[in-house]
């Protein structure tokens, strides 16, 4: 068992465990903080899976910006106190767990229906590309080449989101 495999399973366990805490903690603040832990663990998994640049983005955008926004809103609304009705009763609990269990089982089964071997790249292809073009460069090249138009449209989307957020959150429309 190589080191990367050990690291993978360690962070995978951490991600799953913190995700469980995230959905079971009554306090929204606690949930949010556990989610941050999950996102960090995922960043670590990204590194193991040869996506270092994405891992960095994960930390910056998700764990940094987005989660801060969440916490900010929670605190702004003063939701730190846990509410008794925040988690559903026994019936809702049973239904939710059952459905999610079935879904997880189905997705787990789907895992074996992976891509055909013929179109697979060699296992170290990503690492070699990163070594040749640089970690950022290997992602940036297709981004500014084949995916240039979607990339530009993303900027429009973000602009629209900013305007929308401001409009929605203003006290008087």
């Amino acid at each position: 068992m190589s080191g990367s495999v050990i690291i993978f399973w360690a962070f995978a366990g951490l991600a799953i465990g913190s995700a469980v805490f995230c959905i079971t903690r009554r306090s929204p603040v606690a949930s949010a903080l556990w989610l941050v832990v999950t996102l960090f663990s995922l960043a670590a998994l990204f590194v193991v899976l040869d996506a270092q640049f994405i891992a960095v983005l994960q930390v910056l955008v998700y764990a940094g910006a987005i989660m801060v926004l969440f916490l900010f809103v929670i605190m702004l609304l003063n939701l730190g106190r846990q509410a008794a009705t925040d988690i559903k009763g026994p019936l809702g609990l049973a239904v939710g767990v059952a459905l999610a269990g079935v879904l997880g089982f189905q997705l787990g089964v789907l895992r074996v229906a992976g891509p055909p071997a013929a179109i697979l790249l060699p296992p170290d292809a990503m690492a070699r590309a990163a070594a040749e073009q640089g970690m950022v460069g290997s992602v940036a090249r297709p981004l500014f080449d084949a995916y240039l138009v979607p990339f530009e449209i993303t900027s429009v989307l973000l602009l629209a989101a900013i305007v929308g957020a401001v409009v929605l959150a203003k006290r008087r429309l």
């Binding site: 990367s4 399973w9 995978a12 995700a19 469980v20 995230c22 959905i23 929204p28 949930s31 989610l35 999950t38 995922l42 990204f46 193991v48 899976l49 994405i54 983005l57 994960q58 955008v61 998700y62 987005i66 926004l69 809103v73 702004l76 609304l77 009705t85 925040d86 988690i87 809702g92 939710g96 767990v97 459905l99 999610a100 269990g101 879904l103 997880g104 997705l107 787990g108 789907l110 895992r111 992976g114 891509p115 697979l120 790249l121 296992p123 292809a125 290997s138 992602v139 297709p142 981004l143 084949a146 995916y147 990339f151 989307l157 629209a160 989101a161 929308g164 957020a165 929605l168 959150a169």
Partner: protein
């Protein structure tokens, strides 16, 4: 080589996200669970990118951008709802009923 385990972890995380959405009544926590599902999908993208080309990582980039936009707008909506109803408990927010 870690493709299979990564997809398994992704499936578990996604199911946990769904469970969260099903179990919780607090709008903001449900929102966080949606983010968790998005991240599970991101993990799938990254794992498959290892064997199918770097396009998967580019997709993750786009998902993050969309998630950021979504978070901004979604949280703004939550703010507006809270201001209007003084609660985020979805049990009390049933405006969808015709």
């Amino acid at each position: 080589m870690l493709l299979g385990p990564a997809l398994l972890v992704s499936a578990v995380l996604f199911a946990l996200g769904v469970a969260g959405v099903l179990l919780r009544r607090n709008a903001i926590v449900i929102f966080m669970c949606v983010e968790l599902m998005l991240n599970a999908v991101n993990l799938t993208f990254v794992a498959l990118a290892q064997r199918l080309g770097v396009a998967g990582q580019v997709f993750v980039f786009f998902v993050m951008a969309v998630a950021a936009a979504e978070a901004a707008v979604g949280l703004a909506i939550i703010l507006a709802i809270y201001r209007h109803r003084q609660t985020l408990n979805l049990q009390n927010i049933n405006l969808l009923k015709g």
